[in-house]
């Protein structure tokens, strides 16, 4: 079965014909070509497909495309326009080597966006809880925690 959804992705409106079995990550990657959102496990564990749905993080592999009609989605593509113009959180990930292979990074960064919006001055423990839904198999997490702590400081300085 197919249906039409109208969505706002990164402040741009789309009307898309979707398979009702498709998930939001399928819609973003396959139909809109927004491949910054990664598909890892497909079972809601790894968090690589994390996007903001009406401002809050969700795992896009666990949301049906048909359910997002009329909603606002923000993907990693919205955070910066070029490598020279990165979001402060992205800059901190680069500076503190908060990534190695990069597969988890879009989801990690978006989880950090939600965390720092709600808690601009998190403790290390709160940072770890904030990224608990995002798995990284390279860094051992410490550099990611360092990056988010540094990004929080920079964002507070404004």
């Amino acid at each position: 079965m197919r249906g039409t959804v109208s969505i706002n992705v990164n402040a741009r409106s789309y009307t898309v014909d979707v398979d009702t079995r498709a998930t939001l990550v399928d819609l973003l990657r396959e139909q809109l070509g927004l491949t910054g959102t990664h598909l890892g496990c497909g079972t809601g564990n790894c968090g690589a497909c994390t996007v903001l749905l009406n401002g809050d993080t969700v795992k896009a592999c666990c949301v049906l495309a048909a359910e997002v009609d009329g909603r606002d989605i923000t993907t990693i593509e919205a955070l910066s326009t070029s490598a020279e113009n990165l979001h402060p959180i992205q800059r901190a990930f680069v500076k503190h080597q908060g990534l190695q292979c990069g597969f988890c990074t879009p989801g990690m960064v978006l989880s950090a966006v939600q965390l720092l919006r709600e808690n601009p001055e998190p403790t290390d423990d709160e940072i770890r809880h904030g990224i608990a839904g995002n798995l990284c198999r390279c860094t051992g997490y410490q550099f990611i925690v360092d990056a988010i702590r540094a990004a929080a400081e920079e964002l507070r300085r404004g």
Partner: protein, 276 residues
């Protein structure tokens, strides 16, 4: 879409239809091919199922209320703090943003975080179909592993938690190897001046409860905890085993966590003057 339209849609083909709440369990199961429903009816637009309302004696929580809201809701923090505590430990940030109370209950996982809490504080669930609505006591909701007492055409509408009528101490604990994973056992206790009730989930197919009543729980001291532990251990005789732990291990953990929450609930009742 409103609830009436959902009930109508489900009633047309109750056996082939699966209700989709937050999708945190159902969508992964569909992605893995473990669930292959003919029809999926989503509740995500049914805004009338999102609420936390209090009356004089109860708090009603709409079934589509997210874990995120339950974790931080001021009414619940005041009236049933351990439900908020249970919500804070579910999954991770993304799961709590999307997952719902009703979805968790209807899924029927015996180790679900809310269930022992709701059983311990004697909550009940309103379920509805085109045939009308009825109330199910929380301890009668999950009848075995992934099996509930819901009829195929019934939808969880709300959970009603009684406000505490007297001085109460409560405690919740979940035992898990990695934070955010499914719990091995969950336990909740409610202590009053003359009774202590402990409910343990996850050890057996359906939550096990044991209650001790006496004239004065403070005077009874450690004896109350021993009696509860023995009661829960006896009730956990048909514990199940899986990859996370054998049946014997689960039964042993039921005993350990029963003891832990009972002591905490009594401590909060007598030392700190009671908690929600």
């Amino acid at each position: 879409m409103d609830l009436a339209a959902v009930l109508e849609a489900v009633s047309e083909r109750p056996y082939g239809t699966k209700l989709l709440a937050g999708g945190m369990s159902l969508v992964p199961m569909m992605n893995l091919g473990l669930a292959r429903p003919e029809t999926v009816v989503s509740l995500s637009r049914v805004s009338e199922l999102v609420f936390v309302d209090e009356s004089r004696t109860t708090v009603g929580i709409g079934s589509m209320t997210t874990h995120r809201r339950i974790a931080a809701d001021q009414i619940l923090l005041r009236e049933c703090g351990m439900l908020s505590e249970a919500a804070r430990g579910i999954g991770d940030v993304q799961v709590r943003n999307r997952g719902t109370l009703g979805g968790s209950l209807a899924h029927g996982d015996p180790a679900a975080d809310y269930l022992p809490v709701l059983c311990a504080c004697r909550a009940r669930c309103e379920v509805a179909s085109t045939r009308g609505s009825r109330w199910i006591d929380a301890d009668a909701l999950v009848v075995d592993i992934m099996q509930t007492s819901l009829e195929p055409d019934e939808v969880v509408v709300q959970v009603e938690v009684p406000k505490r009528a007297q001085r109460t101490g409560s405690a919740f604990a979940r035992f898990v190897r990695v934070e955010g994973n499914y719990a091995i056992v969950t336990a909740a206790a409610v202590a009053t001046e003359d009774s202590v009730r402990v409910v343990v989930g996850g050890a057996t197919g359906t939550p096990i409860a044991f209650e001790v009543q006496m004239e004065d729980t403070q005077a009874a001291g450690a004896h109350v905890v021993d009696e509860l532990e023995a009661g829960i251990f006896a009730a956990a005789g048909d514990a199940y085993g899986d990859i996370a732990g054998s049946a014997d291990y689960r039964r042993a953990m039921a005993r350990v966590f029963c003891r832990r929450v009972a002591k905490q609930a009594l401590a909060s009742l007598w030392r700190e003057g009671g908690t929600a």
